[in-house]
Symmetry: C2
Subunit: 232 residues, 2 copies
C-alpha cells in the first residue's frame, strides 16, 4: 500500500539534474519547499535538507522570502582532505620513513612571533626533519612548537616519532590556518630534497591554536612535481 519513501538524496539528485539539464538555468528561482515537497511526495523537511546541502556546496543561494536560486557564478568550494603524511605516503604503496635533521630549543624569531601573536623570544622547540617515500625525499619540514602551550615538548627528542604525530596524539587544537604557496628551493633544501637549486616547490604552512594559545607552526616543502588534487 505505502509507496517507497522519498529520500533527501533523491530530491537532491533530481534538483541537481534539473540544474544541469537547463530546466532551471543559472539565476533562476526554483520552486519553494512546499511546492517541491508536494511534487516529490515527501515532507518539507526532506526537501529542506536536500536544498540546504546544495546551498552548503555552493550550488544554490537561499534567502528567506526571496526563495532559492541557482547560483550564476558558482563560488564553489573545494574540500581537501589533509591526511597525515604517513598515510599519504603509505597510500601510494611506498614505505614511509622519518628522519630528524636538527633539533634546537630556540627563542621565537620576530616574524613568527608576530604571526602567532606571542612575544618575540618566547621559548620554542625548533625542528628540521625529512619525510621519505621509499628512497624518495618527499617532504622537508620546518617546525616550531610553542613551549608555553606544550611544555612536554621540551623533553621529547623527536628522533623516532615525527612532530605532527606526536602532537596530534597529545595536544587537542581548536583552530587551524592553512596556506599554500610556491617557493624556490634554497641550496640546503634543494640538497635535502635531491632537487635542482631553485626548483619550484609546492609549500604548505600550517598554524595551530588551542583556543587563543598558539600550539605550533609548520612549513612543509614538497618534492618537485608534487600535486595536491581534489574532486569537488
Amino acid at each position: 500500500m505505502s509507496p517507497p519513501k522519498v529520500s533527501y538524496l533523491d530530491v537532491k539528485t533530481q534538483v541537481l539534474s534539473r540544474i544541469h539539464d537547463g530546466t532551471w538555468a543559472p539565476g533562476a528561482t526554483i520552486p519553494g519547499e512546499v511546492e517541491l515537497a508536494t511534487e516529490f511526495g515527501c515532507a518539507r523537511t526532506t526537501v529542506n535538507r536536500a536544498l540546504q546541502e546544495l546551498a552548503d556546496e555552493g550550488i544554490v543561494d537561499r534567502r528567506r522570502k526571496a526563495g532559492t536560486r541557482v547560483k550564476t557564478s558558482p563560488t564553489r568550494q573545494a574540500r581537501f582532505t589533509i591526511p597525515l603524511i604517513r598515510t599519504e605516503i603509505e597510500a601510494t604503496g611506498a614505505a614511509y620513513r622519518y628522519a630528524l635533521v636538527d633539533r634546537q630549543i630556540a627563542p621565537c624569531p620576530p616574524g613568527l612571533a608576530a604571526q602567532l601573536g606571542i612575544e618575540t623570544n618566547s621559548p620554542m622547540v625548533h625542528l628540521s626533519c625529512m619525510h621519505y617515500a621509499d628512497a624518495l625525499a618527499f617532504q622537508y619540514e620546518d617546525r616550531w612548537i610553542n613551549l608555553e602551550t606544550v611544555p612536554e615538548a621540551k623533553a621529547e627528542p623527536f628522533d623516532v616519532i615525527n612532530p605532527n604525530e606526536w602532537l596530534v596524539s597529545r595536544v587537542p587544537f581548536s583552530d587551524v590556518e592553512l596556506s599554500f604557496s610556491a617557493t624556490n628551493a634554497s641550496a640546503s633544501v634543494a640538497d635535502f630534497l635531491s632537487a635542482p637549486d631553485g626548483s619550484a616547490l609546492f609549500t604548505a604552512e600550517r598554524t595551530t591554536w588551542l583556543q587563543a594559545r598558539p600550539v605550533t607552526f609548520a612549513r612543509m616543502l614538497f618534492h618537485p612535481g608534487y600535486r595536491m588534487t581534489t574532486l569537488v
Copy 2:
C-alpha cells in the same frame, strides 16, 4: 513558562568545547544521541544534526552501534572558497583588468586529450590571457575549451570578457577537478608576470565536465608570492 529552545548550534559548541577541554579525549566514545538529548533538554533530532555536522567536519567518527568517537588523527578537511578571479582581486581593493594575449582554434594535443578522455585533435579554442590587479600582473591563464561540448565558443572573440566568466554564465557543469602545484616560470610566462626567470609560481589547474563531456581545462599561474589561505 517554556524554557528557551536549545539550538543544534548550542549542542555543537558544547560538544566541541568538551572535546577541546579534554572532557572527551581523542579516541573516546561520547554519549549516545538519546543521552545527550536528555542532558541538553532537546529532541534527539537536534543532537543528531549537531553531531552530523561535526562528523562532516572530520571532528568525530560515527558508526551505527559503535557510537560516536572523537577522532584521534584528525583527518581534517580544509574548505577553500574558489572565487572568480575578478572577485578575488576586487576584494583587495584593486581594480581588475583582463587582457587577451592570444586566441587560436587548435586541435587538442595528445596529453590534454588523454586527461579529458577525448580524441586527440578534437577541435578546441585555445586562449592565453592575463589578469591584472591594478598595474600588477596577477595571473597568467592558459585555457582550452572543448568545441564539441561548447560550440558557441567558436564565435566568441574573448577580447572583452574573460573565458571563465563567459563560461559560467553560459555552460552549466557537473564536475570539477582541481589540482595545485608549483611551477618554475618559463621565459615567456616570466615576462608576462614581470617575474624573474625560473620564479616559483603557485599553479592551479581546473578541469570541468558536464556529465561525461569535458567542457574546459585551465592552467593558471599566479604571480610570485601568491598565497592561498584558509581557516578551517
